[in-house]
């Protein structure tokens, strides 16, 4: 069910984040993260188009949902098992612009994989980001295992895992959700529904109305929220996190959003999306609407907003320069770490 709250026009716009227990500082921070996510994403796309990085997978259009979700988590307490688009989430969990750029350039210092994996394959023990791979949905059972292990160790935490709506059709989603349901484990399943699996549109992916309809089959709640509204996502996630920490088990949160870019730098979405559709998508950029909200409720001013943007740009510039110059790994190092050494 679509979360009603998220769809109605808020009566008193300035109060929405207050009600959720978010301070003005918090929402500015959220916005800052959204900008940084977008900035990095745009930069990597440009670098790819300039032939400087071989591959990019973009999260453009999904930042609001990601930041909304990540803010409901606690990076010191919780673990995340993000999918390849979840750049916003790993930034909140502690990765820096430099980390991201080192990964884009596949340099030795890349904390995710030492340049072994494509960008978007996150991982950092320090930041509680569990190493991910390319085959979709394999991380979902891992999240369940993290939750199970934490419970066995007496650690009260939440395991967050994200995936696209297309990936919710994989067996691993089903098996993992069922396992988590049976064992009432503290897992939040976060579906970023951007209405496409590469070129395959929703109607060819799923016949249910919402991916969240699947939760009932695993004995836990599922909600669908507006992923363009970080506060709506935050609210739903907060509830899911509270349930998890309270021993009430898993939840499925589905956020509806649009992928503003092609699937990846190798894709050309004009072959399967109309111009009108692409225009329409651009017309509700979640970053612009959140900026408007913050300006409207006086948390940001035009000036402070501009300053934030500039701060982000500088950070990304520095990171890019650093990463571009950083050394590649040594060829023979490829032989290492198949097993413990």
């Amino acid at each position: 069910m679509m979360n009603a709250q998220s769809l109605e026009v808020p009566a008193m716009i300035a109060k929405r984040h207050d009600k959720l227990g978010l301070t003005d500082h918090d929402v500015v921070k959220m916005y800052h993260f959204m900008l940084k996510t977008r900035g990095l994403d745009d930069r990597m796309w440009l670098l790819n188009r300039a032939g400087k990085v071989p591959f990019v997978v973009s999260c453009k259009g999904q930042e609001a949902a990601q930041i909304g979700a990540a803010f409901a988590l606690n990076p010191v307490r919780d673990y995340v098992l993000p999918y390849y688009r979840d750049l916003g989430v790993v930034l909140v969990f502690g990765q820096t612009a430099k980390d991201v750029m080192l990964s884009a350039f596949a340099k030795q210092e890349d904390p995710n994989s030492g340049g072994r994996q494509m960008p978007g394959h996150f991982g950092s023990r320090e930041h509680h980001i569990v190493t991910g791979s390319s085959p979709v949905s394999t991380q979902i059972p891992h999240a369940v295992g993290i939750a199970l292990a934490a419970r066995m160790k007496g650690h009260n935490l939440v395991a967050y895992t994200s995936f696209g709506e297309g990936s919710s059709n994989q067996g691993d989603f089903h098996e993992a959700a069922n396992f988590a349901g049976v064992h009432r484990l503290p897992v939040v399943f976060f579906c970023e529904n951007n209405k496409y699996a590469i070129s395959v549109p929703l109607r060819k992916e799923l016949a249910c109305e919402h991916v969240s309809d699947r939760a009932v089959g695993y004995g836990f709640p599922g909600v669908t929220v507006d992923g363009n509204d970080p506060l709506a996502v935050y609210a739903a996630m907060k509830e899911a996190v509270a349930r998890a920490l309270d021993g009430q088990g898993p939840s499925l949160v589905e956020a509806m959003m649009d992928r503003m870019n092609p699937h990846s730098s190798d894709d050309d979405d004009r072959t399967y999306r109309s111009k009108d559709e692409l225009e329409e998508v651009k017309s509700h950029d979640p970053i612009l609407s959140f900026r408007d909200y913050l300006l409207d409720c006086g948390v940001l001013t035009e000036a402070s907003e501009k300053a934030l943007r500039e701060e982000v740009t500088v950070e990304i510039n520095v990171a890019t320069t650093y990463a571009e110059k950083a050394p590649y790994p040594h060829p023979e190092q490829a032989l290492r770490y198949v097993f413990a050494e």
């Binding site: 994989s113 340049g115 994989q170 699996a197 590469i198 395959v200 060829p331 023979e332 490829a334």
Partner: protein
């Protein structure tokens, strides 16, 4: 005869066969409007419609499993796995089901299925868009595996695979798609499954390989020719079942054999090739049977130096050939 790109040859063969036999259909991720992420199925949905060019939900076990059901019913599904690496969720359907349907039903049911999957590295694909998957399946009774190296074989083996009464894995190398072109016979043209091809005749050493490495080995052989070393070069084309006769004949001719593949060394197809030789032609050998293969690490890192480190190329192959010739 037309000179065609490897990828176009696959596309055209598929199209021809779909025109010829309306039991043939395509199912996979993004095979429809997008025409496949590599564009192998481009234009097919326009010509044959949504019913025969099916954009499947993102679930490989279902893609293969549904195709198996359709094959059992008598159709000729050509399932596409977007990257060979993503065949792994479908392994149970392939090994427990497709491979065993005829056997377990004592010849009552069968599974004339083709699974196409782009494989191989050197394309900045990193760990999960670069792997060679043939060794996972060559051990399985009931599966055939073809791996064309040329545009002509790409056609001839695809037609044979589709017409084969049993399941065939058709691995196509991503790096060959738009690199290799050669003459492809028009119309009816099949290459028998299970028959190797002699690429070059020679007397000094024998090189046995398949896939992308056929081209690197050819280059290496031409290099060595200049150095006075003549190479018998075999392209296996089918890695299951192996063409033992061709392998043994080529080995007997020179007494020195180098087996080359991109895939990891241990337990690769090369191990079986070597074992066949050691069992059947041991006393024809003048040198140890050598294998030059990918190292035993997950294939392959994303960063260019380590990707290059993993991948074989004509120099590395030439080096191994020189060593063997000098033995």
């Amino acid at each position: 005869m037309t000179v065609k790109l490897y990828i176009d040859s696959i596309h055209d063969a598929l199209q021809e066969e779909m025109r010829r036999d309306d039991g043939v259909f395509v199912v996979g991720e993004d095979v429809g409007v997008r025409g496949g992420v590599f564009r192998v199925t481009q234009g097919l949905i326009e010509e044959f419609g949504e019913a025969r060019v099916i954009d499947a939900p993102l679930a490989e076990s279902a893609i293969v499993g549904v195709a198996i059901g359709a094959a059992a019913y008598g159709l000729k599904p050509v399932a596409e796995i977007q990257f060979a690496d993503f065949i792994l969720p479908a392994v149970n359907q392939l090994i427990s089901e497709a491979a065993k349907m005829r056997y377990r039903s004592n010849n009552d049911w069968s599974c004339p299925l083709v699974v196409r999957a782009p494989y191989g590295g050197g394309v900045h694909g990193a760990l999960y868009h670069s792997q060679s998957l043939e060794a996972l399946f060559h051990h399985v009774p009931g599966l055939k595996i073809v791996m064309p190296a040329t545009a002509a074989d790409a056609k001839g083996l695809l037609l044979s695979a589709i017409r084969d009464p049993d399941p065939v894995l058709y691995f196509e190398h991503k790096a060959l798609y738009r690199w290799i072109k050669d003459e492809v016979p028009e119309g009816e043209y099949t290459v028998p499954i299970g028959k190797a091809r002699c690429v070059l005749e020679g007397d000094d050493i024998t090189v046995i390989t398949y896939g992308l490495m056929v081209h690197h080995a050819t280059e290496a052989a031409r290099e060595l020719e200049k150095e006075g070393i003549s190479t018998e070069l075999i392209d296996l084309r089918t890695v299951a079942p192996l063409d033992s006769e061709a392998i043994l004949a080529a080995v007997r001719k020179t007494g020195k054999v180098l087996i080359v593949h991109e895939d990891n060394k241990t337990g690769g197809v090369g191990a079986e090739v070597s074992a066949i030789i050691a069992e059947k032609a041991l006393f024809d050998l003048d040198a140890p049977i050598s294998r030059l293969c990918g190292p035993d690490i997950p294939a392959m890192p994303f960063n260019p130096p380590q990707e290059r480190f993993y991948m074989l190329n004509s120099e590395k192959i030439a080096q191994a050939m020189r060593q063997l010739a000098a033995f």
